[in-house]
């Protein structure tokens, strides 16, 4: 039973780690690029928004599976 909780913790933790690193890089690059070319700010914001959607797809599905493990398999 404990293994299920460890598995859920790994899924959520590693998903959050990946998403955190990705969002940090994304936000940092957005600020850097906007400082270089402020006239491109709108396009860069749109691209960041689209990339954010792609970036968090796997962690979001991971959260769903982890909740299933915690509340249905272990519960």
């Amino acid at each position: 039973m404990e293994m299920v909780f460890i598995a859920a913790a790994l899924i959520i933790g590693l998903g959050a780690l990946g998403a955190g690193i990705g969002f940090g890089l994304l936000g940092g690059k957005l600020l850097e690029s906007t400082a270089r070319q402020p006239e491109m700010a709108n396009q860069l914001q749109t691209k960041t928004f689209i990339m954010a959607g792609l970036l968090d797809a796997v962690p979001m599905i991971g959260v769903g599976i982890a909740m299933y493990l915690i509340f249905v398999v272990a519960g």
């Binding site: 600020l31 709108n42 954010a52 968090d56 299933y68």
Partner: protein, 130 residues
């Protein structure tokens, strides 16, 4: 900050919402061929995706323009954290409060909507206002 009523980008928020809602209903109808419970679970799975994502899109485009970019990045980080937290809370609530539930229908619809949402934002991206 961009004045209210004067947007720099035309964000098709309502269009995304309509297309995603339609896709959820279609998925729920397809799953309903397996039984009423499966259809209902698919609908719930789609809604778990739809609510946090609509809020995320609204938060990210609340501020626009080069001068507000650091505020926009702060909003992006906050919105992402809240989106993941909301998704976890919704899943926990569904698994605890809804008995019985068709888990494959719920998770499959959610996963399909996550991928479809990203693709939709790619193909129907916000356009700069002229």
């Amino acid at each position: 900050m961009a004045r209210s009523g004067h947007r720099l980008n035309r964000v098709p928020l309502l269009r995304w919402l309509v297309i995603e809602s339609t896709a959820i209903v279609v998925m729920a109808l397809l799953w309903a061929t397996q039984g009423r419970l499966a259809g209902y679970s698919a609908l719930v799975g789609g809604l778990i995706f739809l609510v946090p994502n609509t809020w995320f899109a609204y938060q990210v485009y609340k501020v626009e323009g080069a001068r507000n970019m650091s505020r926009m990045v702060g909003n992006l980080f906050r919105a992402e954290s809240v989106k993941i937290a909301l998704t976890a809370v919704f899943f926990a609530a569904v698994f605890n409060l809804m008995e019985p539930i068709h888990v494959p229908a719920l998770l499959f619809t959610f996963a399909v909507m996550v991928v479809m949402g990203a693709a939709l934002r790619w193909f129907m991206r916000p356009r700069p206002q002229r």
